[in-house]
Structure formats: structure tokens, C-alpha cells
């Protein structure tokens, strides 16, 4: 075995090993350490046999292990002194602010279904303002609190499964009498003209379009309960503490017509803004998968609906029209 070849290989290995040292230390002394290592290596290689070289390699490895740990620790300790404190404090404050904001002020949601199509599209990522409808309490005078009103777009916990959050429009508040006649909402006897409503199906479904009717196959137990107990003279009467919600995409919306009223306490908040709108399917949006991540990574610029970004979904009071 050629000794100078072996020395060269060892030096090359040592150059790689140097990367275990902290960057500052390596930049300052790495070159000299390589020199010293090479000199030691050459000296050891001058002795006949490989014993000296092996001993040198073993010693260098032990030295490398001990000193990387020592230098790594000392560079950490140094960094922690004044700079680290500012850094930690900054992150702690940022974390607290985030925690406060995300639990009480806003929360991010994605719209996975098309029941609000026309107003909110599948793939709209929205920020929901949780403060406005927050149950009156300590923040009542601090935050811009107001009661839920007709025409508001509201995010709420789905009464049949509170794990899910739905977004729909408020059609009826307590005391309102609601019925539909050929897709048109009649509230407290007045026909509503709803510019936000969208109709995609020209056919007439009695249950859907002339609500309330006899319970159908899509009516859930809560919906049946509503039909059984809260229908007076062919109109649904919204009881106290409840809201009647409908999707803007009237012909394709599972809403209060099918699963009943939404308790006021299920209300999460009001969509503030669409911060990102991405063209994706319902399944993809409901659970984040690797496929979805890859899709976003490769199609971010083409599948993002830029024109929807930073849109503000508005609450809109329906106009009354005479029949």
C-alpha cells in the first residue's frame, strides 16, 4: 500500500469530518487543523509498518469526538448568552400572540364543498373572525361584538357532528317564519329577492324547493324533529336560541332544510377574508394527503385562483319583494 496515497485519503476524510465542528470554529481554524492533521499523518507514515498510522488515526478520531462535542457545546453556550434571550423572548411573544389570536380572534378554515358556491368556492381558504359573535362576556366592550343577523354568512359547528365546521347564510333568526315556494324563500310572509342565491337545477324538487314538506330520505333525525315540532301553518318557525341556515347554492346545499336548526352556541364566527383559493377536489381538501401536498407544490401558481385571493365574503340582507 502506498503511504502517501493513504495519507491523502485520510486527509480527505478529515476534511469531511471538520464539518462536525461549529461553523464559526471551522471557518477560523479548519484550515490550520487540516495542516496539522496532514503533518501528523505524514510523520506517522514515515515509520515503517502501519502501526503508527493506525495509532495516529485512532488518536485523531478520539480527539475529533471529544472536541466536536466541546466546541459544539461552547458555541451553543455562547450563542445563548445575550442574543438567544432576545430570540427566545421574541418567539415566546409571537407564540402567545398566535395562541391568543388563533383561539379567540381568528381561525383558518377551508371550504371543501360547493354548498355556498357563488359566494364561497370549493378550495377557498378563509379566515374566520371568532370575536364578532363571541358570546358576550369580558370582551363585549373591547371587541366589535354584534348579534347574528339575517343575511350574515356564518361558520358554525354542524349540529349533527360538531367536529365539522360548516359555512352557510343565516336565513332565519328566532321568531322568523320560513317557507319556500318554487325555490323562493318567503320569510314572515314576504318573498325575498336574494341576489346571492344561485340556482343550478331547473327541475323542481318538492322537498327542496317547496319546503317544508313531508320528510324525505335526506332528512336527518334533527330535521324530522324540526318538521314535527316547529311547523305552524305550513311554515317553519325558528325557536329561541336557534338559527335557520341555507347555502347560497340552493339546489345543491345540505342545510337547515335537511338537518334542522343551528343552535346559537354552535356559531364559530364570520368569514373575514379568502386568504387563498386553490382549485382542488372535496376529498383532497378534507384531509391533507401527500398527493395534495405534491399537487400544491407543483401547481401552486396555476391552480391558485388569484382573482379570489383577499376577497371578502359579504353579508347581504335580502330585499323583500311583493308577491
Amino acid at each position: 500500500m502506498n503511504a502517501s496515497w493513504l495519507v491523502r485519503q485520510l486527509c480527505r476524510m478529515y476534511s469531511v469530518f471538520l464539518y462536525a465542528y461549529p461553523r464559526e470554529f471551522r471557518l477560523e481554524y479548519g484550515g490550520e487543523m487540516r495542516q496539522v492533521f496532514r503533518d501528523g499523518c505524514r510523520d506517522a507514515a514515515q515509520h515503517p509498518g502501519s502501526l503508527h498510522l493506525m495509532r495516529f488515526a485512532a488518536r485523531s478520531t478520539a480527539d475529533w469526538l471529544a472536541s466536536t462535542v466541546r466546541e459544539g457545546y461552547s458555541s451553543l453556550a455562547e450563542a445563548r448568552k445575550p442574543v438567544q434571550r432576545g430570540w427566545v423572548a421574541e418567539w415566546a411573544v409571537a407564540g402567545l400572540v398566535y395562541f391568543f389570536v388563533s383561539t379567540t380572534l381568528v381561525q383558518a378554515y377551508v371550504v371543501p364543498t360547493g354548498s355556498m358556491d357563488g359566494t364561497l368556492k370549493i378550495g377557498d381558504h378563509i379566515l374566520v373572525d371568532r370575536a364578532t359573535y363571541a358570546t358576550p362576556g369580558w370582551g363585549r366592550h373591547l371587541l366589535p361584538y354584534r348579534e347574528v343577523q339575517r343575511g350574515d354568512i356564518v361558520a358554525f359547528r354542524y349540529p349533527e357532528d360538531v367536529e365539522q365546521t360548516y359555512v352557510k347564510r343565516v336565513i332565519g333568526v328566532p321568531g322568523d317564519r320560513i317557507r319556500l315556494e318554487n325555490k323562493q324563500v318567503i320569510r314572515n310572509g314576504s318573498h325575498l329577492r336574494e341576489p346571492y342565491a344561485q340556482f343550478i337545477d331547473s327541475s323542481r324538487d318538492v322537498y327542496r324547493d317547496d319546503f317544508p314538506a313531508r320528510a324525505g330520505i335526506f332528512t336527518t333525525p334533527r330535521g324530522r324533529d324540526m318538521l314535527a315540532r316547529h311547523v305552524v301553518n305550513g311554515e317553519v318557525v325558528v325557536p329561541a336560541g336557534m338559527l335557520f341556515m341555507m347555502g347560497d347554492n340552493r339546489d345543491n346545499s345540505a342545510d337547515s332544510r335537511y338537518w334542522g336548526f343551528v343552535p346559537r352556541e354552535n356559531v364559530v364566527g364570520r368569514p373575514l377574508v379568502v386568504y387563498w383559493s386553490y382549485d382542488a377536489t372535496t376529498e383532497r381538501l378534507q384531509s391533507w394527503s401527500l398527493d395534495h401536498l405534491m399537487d400544491v407544490a407543483t401547481h401552486f401558481f396555476t391552480k391558485t385562483r388569484w382573482e379570489r385571493t383577499f376577497r371578502v365574503p359579504r353579508s347581504e340582507e335580502a330585499a323583500k319583494v311583493e308577491p
Partner: protein, 123 residues
Amino acid sequence: MRKSLSPEKLLPLTPPVFHILLALAGEERHGYGIMQDVARQTDGALQLGPGTLYGCLKRMLAAGLVEESGARPDPELDDERRRYYRMTALGRRVVRAEAQRLVDAVSAAESRLKPGFAGGKAS
């Protein structure tokens, strides 16, 4: 500020630091020169590796025990430029104080370990 630092504050020195200072007592040396001299001083018992050597030098530079004295080639080794290190006045005071501490320790040991001393082996 460093000048007012009392040498005793830095004691005891670790063996690598002590021997590196001794290596620089007579003349300035580059890294490999220090390594060789330390091995000679200790009869090969202390063989510094590059990591230990430069870790110590870094801390000794920070404490003002040694200073850099420019880079130049070693006339005997090759024509590569090497950074040389020399001992500062503080370094000299510190290594003297450490040597004195060791002398005191050795003489204490000798007086206690004399043959016949209580606890020692009876001759």
C-alpha cells in the same frame, strides 16, 4: 481590563493549556510546532489532536494568554504559510503561577509520602 486580571483566577490550568503555554515560553510556534513540542515535553504522554489544540488556542486567545503573530512559512517544513502563536505577558504570569502551584503540590506530596510518615509504608 485583561491586564488587571489576576493570574490565580485562571488556575488550575488543564494539562493541554499548561503544556501549550510551556511550548510557547521560548519562542513563537505554529500549530504543528506546538503539538510536537508538547509531545516532547511530556515524553509522548500528551499527544494533542487538532481539535483539542485549536479549541484550547481559541479559549487562550479569548483569555489573552496567547496572541497571533502573523502567518509565514515554516523554513524547515515546507513553503506553506502557517499562523504563528506567541505567549503574552499575562500568559507568562499565568504559566509561572501554575508551575508554582504544581511545585507546591509536589512538595506537599513529597513531605507526606516520605518513608515512615504516618499512613505511609513502613520501611
